[in-house]
């Protein structure tokens, strides 16, 4: 990695910016095969920049940044894009304390000097690594990905070298690796002959020999640097059938997948490179449109059809912030004005946007929207609003819809923190790759979680001010939550029996689900056996929030068991704070002397 800066600075021509290209044209609509799915370049740029920046916001828009990284890497290396959020790591690496985003150029020497330390961390068992070690490892991985992107088109970029006299000149206005590749063996042969005659010290070479050595060295270094650049899988390996692998430009060259169509398609990127470097907007638009037209006819793209465009739209228009706003306003407005049509309109508007966003995910991924923790939050939020809305409609009262909206807004606010590595539209692990069980088990149990949250929030209201109607609602919600969580848990057991050969294995995820069921059963038996007062019963239902949080997220922090696809890190503190705060609130409400309750 270390020689990349030197290499790019020395070899690749930097062009001063002229009139800047204002928009990215069709560039964002070009397909990239990334993590098992073909995605629009705009989404790929969003994911990668989010991953590299670690939640920080670079000054440049992700797609423009991606174009700069690909087509003018020597300049783009200076753009701050790699996030280092861990303060201790910044101190360890002698980085400025008040800065969080760093350029590739700033970090590459530091990472090179720490390469032995990084190697030691890699071989350490994961559970013994410290937060700083994990952060350093993450930074190194991000820098490696960024380096791969910077080199993606290095075979098309003009080289700042003088071509030796007496050799056939590469075609084109500029010398690029691609134009010189057929002449490289001849150049290497001459260099070997020079070394044989005069040794390896360039001081002994005459001017022509020096030029030959420099050109051969440049081509070799560009080749060595490019060979590991595999990330940008932008060119289909086969042009006549779908479902085949896609390749990065370098992999295409190295592995010999290139055909006439691939060469033509690559030519479009050469034109894009030239246009970007000249900041020629017309040529840029022509090149991106030509590439889009050509790839649009590929069988993979025909198979994806409208789903590809839908993903682009999904990435460009994030509906969740406005959904959260609608839900929050809908939940809080009744505290100020009691206009039913306005509250209903806001919540219904939020719900409509929520349904559209979730429906879009289902359409893009062609599967139920509950394959990851993040997705389950989106779905549970929808369940909360939908059930709250139905109850409000039936009781002609604000409260259930407001409680549902508030819980949905909170869940949607938390959801983005659970997105791993910048990508929220994940492919599924093999064991989850079954639509039937995802629909039947996960939808049922997550709907149960939604009802638990609703019941818990209504219980808070009951503890605040006791009303018989509210108590009945809370009780019925808890019974329905029991129905769904119990059936969902049992269905999960049946799925486990189908895929692992046992109904129950005391796996943390299974135990978490069982804990919710047992907790509700305990409360119901306490209520029936008159062992729990009405206030304690309500407090127990309110505590469902904590039980659900532990069963839903907490068990994934343990990192053991067969549900390894759900493992997560980095939320332990937030979860602990939530549980402590929630317990404190419930304890306060339970202890306060509310007149409706008997002592």
């Amino acid at each position: 990695m270390r020689f990349l800066a030197l290499l790019l600075a020395l070899l690749i021509l930097c062009h001063p910016a002229r009139a800047a290209i204002q928009d990215t044209g069709d560039f964002g609509a070009l397909p990239v095969l990334h993590e098992g799915r073909i995605k629009p370049m705009a989404r790929f740029a969003d994911i990668m920049v989010d991953r590299w920046a670690q939640g920080e916001q670079p000054d440049t828009q992700p797609l423009m940044l991606m174009a700069a990284l690909l087509f003018n890497p020597a300049q783009a290396m200076e753009i701050p894009i790699l996030g280092v959020r861990d303060k201790t790591l910044r101190l360890q690496l002698n980085l400025p304390e008040d800065q969080r985003l760093f350029s590739f150029q700033e970090l590459e020497d530091i990472l090179f000097n720490n390469r032995h330390k990084i190697s030691e961390i890699i071989i350490k068992p994961e559970e013994t690594r410290s937060d700083q070690e994990n952060a350093l490892l993450g930074l190194a991985a991000n820098a490696d990905e960024l380096a791969q992107i910077l080199r993606s088109f290095s075979l098309l970029l003009p080289l700042d070298i003088e071509w030796p006299q007496g050799f056939r000149k590469p075609k084109g206005d500029f010398i690029t690796y691609r134009s010189a590749i057929t002449l490289q063996p001849e150049l290497e042969k001459s260099l070997k002959s020079i070394i044989r005659r005069k040794g390896e010290n360039p001081e002994n070479y005459n001017a022509r020999e020096w030029t030959i050595a420099t050109a051969a060295f440049a081509l070799r270094e560009i080749q060595l640097g490019g060979e590991n650049s595999k990330l940008l899988r932008i060119i289909p390996g086969a042009w006549d059938r779908a479902g085949q692998d896609w390749f990065s430009p370098w992999a295409l060259l190295r592995e010999g997948h290139g055909g006439p169509q691939q060469a033509d398609y690559l030519e479009n990127f050469a034109n894009m490179t030239a246009a970007w470097r000249q900041q020629d907007e017309t040529a840029w638009h022509l090149a991106t449109a030509a590439a889009r037209g050509m790839i649009g006819a590929h069988p993979d793209m025909r198979m994806l059809g409208w789903r590809f465009d839908l993903e682009r739209l999904y990435g460009a228009t994030n509906l969740y912030p406005i959904t959260i706003l609608f839900y929050t306003l809908g939940a809080l407005l009744p505290l100020m004005v009691r206009r039913g049509w306005l509250v209903g309109g806001l919540i219904a508007g939020g719900l409509a946007l929520h349904v559209i966003a979730l429906g879009t995910r289902i359409a893009i991924l062609a599967r139920p929207p509950v394959g990851t923790l993040y997705e389950s939050l989106l779905f549970v939020a929808l369940i909360c609003v939908a059930i709250g809305g139905i109850l409000s409609w039936r009781t002609r009262r604000f409260l259930p819809a407001c409680v549902g909206s508030l819980s949905a807004a909170l869940l949607l606010l938390v959801a983005p923190s659970l997105v791993q590595d910048g990508e929220s539209l994940d492919t599924l692990s093999a064991v989850l790759n079954t639509h039937f069980w995802l629909t039947v088990h996960v939808l049922v149990i997550t709907a149960g979680y939604g009802l638990c949250i609703l019941a818990a929030l209504v219980a808070h209201a009951v503890l605040w001010r006791r009303q018989p109607g509210l108590e009945t609602l809370m009780h019925r919600l808890s019974l329905t939550a029991l129905l769904l969580t119990a059936i969902g848990t049992a269905l999960g057991g049946i799925w486990a029996d189908q895929s692992w050969g046992r109904f129950w294995g005391w796996d943390p995820k299974e135990n978490g689900a069982l804990l919710i069921v047992l907790w509700i059963i305990w409360l119901q038996h306490g209520r029936m056996g008159l062992k729990l007062s009405a206030r304690s019963y309500s407090a127990g239902i309110a505590f469902l929030n904590v039980v659900v949080a532990l069963a839903w997220f907490g068990v994934n922090l343990l990192g053991v068991g067969l549900h390894s696809y759900g493992f997560i890190t980095g939320i332990a503190t937030a979860l602990a704070v939530f549980c402590v705060l929630q317990s404190a609130v419930i304890f306060y409400l339970w202890r306060r002397k509310e007149p409706g309750y008997a002592a």
């Binding site: 095969l33 990334h34 993590e35 098992g36 899988r233 479902g243 692998d245 896609w246 109850l391 009781t395 409260l399 259930p400 492919t427 692990s429 093999a430 064991v431 790759n433 079954t434 069980w437 009303q467 018989p468 109607g469 509210l470 009945t472 609602l473 019925r476 019974l479 029991l482 129905l483 059936i487 049992a490 057991g493 049946i494 029996d497 189908q498 895929s499 692992w500 050969g501 046992r502 109904f503 129950w504 294995g505 005391w506 943390p508 135990n511 978490g512 069982l514 804990l515 047992l518 907790w519 059963i521 305990w522 038996h525 056996g529 062992k531 068990v555 343990l558 990192g559 053991v560 068991g561």
Partner: protein, 369 residues
């Protein structure tokens, strides 16, 4: 004293066990056991934590004995049974609650039948090969072959130090055993009496791994009265590539140590193993094995894939894993024989109907807020 033995007293005590408040006192203990056992998995591993908390009558927390999962679930099951038989409200309006309890009871009985009868094994079949052999996940044994025929299997639990394995034409004594062995270099001055790999390696006891499958078990043994240059001390451990060869009584013996194995009453042939990946990644989107069940003259082709097992003669075969060896790809199938398999399906269906009815049959009073 006599009054304690009267039917009415027993009846009263039984009914007491079926009351809701018994469940109310029992469940916190069960939940504590569940939480502690789940957290313990982080440090002990799933298997050890399960043995300590869930598959135990008593759970020892240091010197303190606490009721284990078996005890708690046993009392819970008893309470459910008594409630169902003697204290169920047999009224139309309570049908849901009766059915929900019955469903839970069926699930518990299923759990008991499974705990008592289920046997879990695995089999490894190379592509193009056929095999009737299944292996235990945890148990190890010493296998003695005569002219390639298995003549004796000695379970690990019977391989205690100083134990002599009788009825062989040579003398075989166990010197040492370790459930999880560290394989270390043997000092040259200690190698005098050792043969084969034992001359260079020695087995030292080390703490068991979190997951028992990861343990490397082994034994050190002594052979006498065999062919002269074969008398001496040997080591044998999981995955040791070279068996111990012994010639005695005019016969050639082979000694191997490894996972306990048994044979199915039929064979499975693997025609093809397929790993499907998401394009451009190593991430699997699915695994499948095209197999043929060979049962006498019957040849039954089938495909086993993730979430789609094969059921045959009471055995269920699941796609578990695969390995890439020098002889090509081999599929690893989990093999389960469980007489209680139907109970969860039945219990879930009954419980679902019960809970639905219970909610439906709730008094229809309007919720007024």
């Amino acid at each position: 004293m006599r009054e304690f033995l009267t039917w009415s007293y027993l009846h009263k005590t039984l009914l007491r066990l079926g009351r809701a408040d018994i469940v109310f006192y029992l469940l916190p203990l069960l939940m504590l056991n569940l939480i502690a056992g789940t957290l313990a998995q982080r440090w002990l591993g799933l298997y050890a934590a399960q043995e300590m908390f869930f598959s135990a009558f008593i759970t020892w927390i240091g010197p303190v004995p606490l009721p284990g999962g078996y005890t708690l679930l046993g009392v819970f099951c008893m309470s459910l049974l008594i409630k169902f038989l003697f204290a169920s409200p047999w009224q139309k309006g309570k049908t849901g609650i009766v059915l929900a309890h019955l469903g839970a009871l069926v699930l518990m009985i299923g759990g008991l039948v499974t705990a008592l009868s289920a046997r879990e094994h695995f089999m490894v079949i190379a592509q193009g090969q056929s095999s009737p052999y299944i292996y235990d996940y945890h148990k190890r044994a010493l296998f003695i072959f005569a002219h390639d025929d298995l003549i004796r299997t000695v379970a690990f639990k019977d391989l205690a130090p100083k134990k002599k394995i009788e009825d062989l034409p040579f003398s075989l004594t166990i010197l040492k055993r370790c459930m999880n062995c560290a394989i270390e270099r043997r000092p040259t001055d200690d190698a005098k009496n050792f043969k084969s790999m034992g001359q260079f390696m020695m087995l030292q006891d080390k703490p068991p791994e979190k997951e028992p499958e990861a343990n490397i078990s082994g034994i050190t043994l002594r052979i006498d009265a065999a062919k002269r240059n074969q008398n001496g001390d040997y080591i044998a451990f999981d995955g040791m590539p070279k068996p111990i060869a012994v010639n005695a009584g005019g016969r050639a013996f082979k000694l191997m140590f490894g996972k306990e194995q048994s044979a199915l009453p039929f064979s499975i042939r693997l025609d093809k193993f397929t790993k499907e990946v998401y394009p451009g990644t190593d991430q699997a989107s699915g695994y499948s094995s095209d197999v043929v069940v060979e049962d006498g003259v019957l040849k039954l082709p089938a495909r086993i894939s993730m979430n789609a097992p094969l059921h045959y003669r009471g055995y269920t075969f699941y796609q578990s894993s695969f390995e890439q060896g020098p002889q090509g790809t081999a599929s690893i199938l989990s093999v389960v024989h469980n007489k209680g398999r139907i109970f969860p399906y039945l219990g879930t269906a009954i419980m679902a109907v019960g809970l639905l009815l219970h909610i439906y049959l709730q008094p229809r009073s309007k919720v007024r807020l």
